[in-house]
């Protein structure tokens, strides 16, 4: 089994707010992230796939294909977007880094043919990142 990781970057804005909480609770739990006008990050995405090496191509996965899938499924939807308002997953779910990693996993897992998705890592900043391995 060989693991291959491809990186991408996207920039997006978001804010954290749960309508079931009071205004005071939202401010206490989410702090600055609760500003309804949103704020932004340069996100770095790392997608790791795993598989056996195809003896004919020497590839675990065709990188060009993986890059295209990441662009089509993730970057086209999230890059330079306001996640809360423009990305369907986040109309009713808070776009925390955890939920972004889960949403990206769900967008990618079904689209990969030869290799299997192993990990989605999303950096919100260089000091903060989330890993999702598809665990329930």
């Amino acid at each position: 089994m060989v693991y291959l990781t491809r990186k991408a970057e996207f920039s997006a804005s978001h804010y954290y707010h749960n309508p079931e909480f009071s205004a005071e609770e939202n401010r206490r739990i989410f702090g600055k992230c609760n500003n309804p006008n949103g704020h932004g990050h340069n996100y770095t995405l790392e997608v790791t796939v795993k598989g056996e090496i195809d003896p004919r191509s020497g590839f675990v996965v065709d990188l060009k294909e993986l890059k295209e899938i990441m662009h089509r499924e993730v970057l086209d939807a999230m890059d330079h977007r306001f996640l809360n308002k423009e990305v369907p997953e986040f109309l009713h779910r808070i776009p925390t880094t955890e939920n972004i990693a889960i949403a990206i996993w769900q967008r990618l897992a079904a689209k990969l043919a030869a290799a299997k998705l192993h990990r989605v890592r999303v950096y919100e900043t260089p000091d903060l990142f989330v890993d999702f391995y598809g665990e329930a």
Partner: protein, 137 residues
């Protein structure tokens, strides 16, 4: 669903690698420059990875404010701008980054109630890093 959250923190500290269980020559042979009696320092980066179910209401594994507050109070306040050799946990053990990594793991493991500790990764320089995920892993 279960996710892993990692956060990186910086602190600066000095240390000297020297073991009382070895002769001066052995210390010099094993630790080299790190055996300099006056000590030397590093900018350490500690990467804390916790895991847990993502809370439906908050979208979080744990609130970063809690993790940041805990690490600030229990780890950074203890080690930042200190000489590691003067601390009680290194009265017997040599303050290698391996041993420091285990100390930090145990502080977080014992004291942080809001998520499960997966791993501590400690970078001594850009070239060296150490990981500890508990005994037996």
């Amino acid at each position: 669903m279960k996710a892993h959250l990692s956060r990186r923190y910086l602190f600066s500290a000095s240390h000297r690698l020297h073991s009382d269980r070895m002769s001066d020559d052995e210390n010099q042979a094993i630790y080299g420059k790190c055996n300099n009696p006056y000590g030397h320092g590093h900018n350490y980066i500690v990467e804390v990875t916790v895991s847990g179910q993502v809370d439906e209401r908050t979208g979080m594994v744990c609130n970063l404010t809690d993790l940041d507050g805990f690490i600030q109070q229990e780890v950074l306040a203890r080690y930042d701008h200190e000489n590691l050799n003067t601390l009680k946990e290194f009265a017997q053990d040599v303050p290698t980054t391996e041993n420091l990594c285990i100390q930090i793991y145990e502080i977080v493991q014992r004291g942080f109630p809001h998520a499960h500790l997966e791993r501590i990764r400690l970078e001594e320089t850009m070239m060296n890093s150490f990981e500890y995920a508990g005994e037996g892993s």
